[in-house]
Symmetry: C2
Subunit: 358 residues, 2 copies
């Protein structure tokens, strides 16, 4: 594992100049490059500061840290402490520019740094520089994602058989929570979405006391985590023996949209936006363009949502060993929503569905 | 409940001028003022924008929202969408200044806003303005915190009896996860800290495969959540019949430091730093000043860590109906750490220990 982090840092280093430095503030980036695991990411327990000659983990000193010879461990991560640590490194290494990750650095942190260095260049770093190789998963990462995907698929398979008329969404959530570890996962990648009937028309509905009735749509969107790595899967199905005609119609469209997107991955090179378009064109042709309210998918790994976003505007290319979701959906207010989602591993000649167990 | 949020927004409004506006970016602040619940706070699912005349929830449109007549619901929360929504409100209401929460607004978000408004004043808001009444809990909030505290105390009581020689920290975590809902909580307020032996010397240690041995220190720091409200409690105890002399000595000091802090709350007015000093002076007098590496406590509510910080430098006064933790600790590297923590409710004439069940 020692080489894993050294290699990642070296790759990142190749992207910066001798007089530049890079401040990492996204928790999953910091984990990826330094092996530091966050207890509460919103509490800024650590930053990473990378130059051509050094790599520093600036941390609170309350949490476990690694013991890598190529990382300097510096205690104290409050904005002022952060600025002080950076000052010392900059002076020593004659750094002239700090590249920051504007999407994850707080204004107060930037202010503390700027106050310290009036004559230093502080510029936004293209997050692609930081995250480009993170998107392409290493074998050790794929292994964990696969485990998480299998656990999720097994939980969804099992919970389907535990539903009954009158169970609430919240009671279903509790049942799911109890299955997570049984199937080998460490915990949840995000709060499970369980939606009965018209509640499924809201993509991020959260379980409440709505009761399951006979002949009702059920949407479950969940993901487990294994060793920090996420999985993501959605199934929508009809509870009862008489699915409505509308449900069957929408199901057919969404499943076809999914399949069309999946097939596109067999093309040797494809852009994220073309993947999105495969699903969107199909749904639009059936007259539901405005009911497909989100992107077709997203990368996932240490974060549940990471690059590449499978969106209509993303021109990034899809590469082998990326792990992404394909998750088209149609949402009919006051009726139901239907989403179908698998986590897939992109390969040289297509993709493998990691969450497919049914 | 309708009045709850209206009243909170009105109180906040009293703190700003007619030509000012306030952009809330902390997820727990947004929940507190608008009843919006986040699925993934790091994904910026919503912002709140408050002026004298309007209150807006700027949201992704994927999650459940309230239906309050005093809130405008505006769809789209990406930085550009955020800036566009703000622009319309500012034009309409002739706003001249935006106050931001620099501690929770990302640089990219501020940049999107600044690009839009070259002649508008953008200034940092003192977070005390936003959070001052959040610290003083309403009866309905105290009720939920109490429930969470009772659940936590019951879980810790039960898990103590389930430990055995050879169980790992991680297996203990799994057992705890299964007890959460049994005792009436919705989930965890933060990842449970379980540390055996020398692992307890690190305040934020995370459970691993270390096995429990006879005659070893055990530290469990955990908190459950009920209806979004947190609890926090730590117990350190000796597993086995022969606690070391050192353990008993440290236990005595930490418990005395806790008690001294708790007693201080009986004074009619006291500052946070004086509370911290009560614990710190006692521990310092015994020669362990440098081993008490964190603050004496923190406020908690919708967030696990909120104001007031019970730190040596915080001059804020402690008021009745604040919910805070008291949690002195001593950490001896390669030996063990000892922390004792309760969540307490500050009252007119002292404090009540909400997590005290043993």
């Amino acid at each position: 594992m020692n080489n894993t982090f050294q290699n990642r840092i070296n790759k990142l280093r190749e992207r910066i100049e001798n007089n530049q430095s890079l401040l990492l503030s996204s928790s999953s980036d910091i984990t990826y490059y330094t092996d530091f695991n966050f207890l509460l990411p919103e509490e800024r327990e650590a930053f990473a500061f990378i130059t051509k000659n050094s790599a520093s983990l600036i941390h609170t000193s309350f949490s476990p840290i690694g013991d890598y010879p190529f990382i300097d461990y510096l205690k104290g991560s409050y904005p002022n402490q952060l600025a002080n640590h950076i000052e010392k490194i900059i002076d020593k290494e004659k750094i002239e520019e700090i590249l920051i990750d504007a999407e994850t650095l707080f204004v107060a942190e930037l202010n503390a740094i700027k106050e310290k260095f009036t004559d230093l260049k502080v510029n936004n770093c293209d997050t692609a520089i930081i995250q480009n190789f993170r998107n392409i998963k290493e074998p050790v990462e794929i292994e964990q994602i696969k485990k998480a995907c299998i656990a999720t698929a097994l939980v969804i398979e099992e919970i389907k058989n535990e539903l009954f008329e009158g169970i609430t969404e919240y009671e279903t959530k509790i049942k799911i929570d109890k299955l997570i570890e049984k199937h080998g996962a460490d915990g949840l990648a995000f709060p499970t979405i369980i939606a009965f009937g018209s509640n499924s028309a809201l993509p991020h509905h959260q379980p409440n006391d709505k009761k399951l009735e006979n002949n009702m749509a059920v949407l479950i969107d969940m993901g487990t985590k294994v060793s920090g790595y996420c999985s993501d899967m959605t199934r929508t199905f009809w509870f009862g023996n008489n699915p409505s005609k509308k449900f069957l119609e929408i199901e057919k469209i969404v499943r076809a949209a999914y399949q069309a997107t999946f097939e596109k991955l067999k093309k040797p090179t494809i852009k994220a936006k073309d993947l999105d378009n495969a699903a969107r064109a199909l749904i639009s042709n059936k007259g539901y363009a405005e009911k497909f309210v989100h992107t077709t998918g997203h990368g996932l790994g240490l974060s549940i949502h990471e690059q590449p976003s499978i969106s209509w505007s993303n021109v990034a290319e899809i590469y082998p060993n990326m792990t992404i979701t394909i998750e088209p959906g149609i949402y009919l207010e006051n009726e139901f929503g239907y989403r179908y989602e698998n986590t897939v591993l992109v390969t040289e000649d297509g993709a493998v569905e990691l969450t497919l167990q049914d």
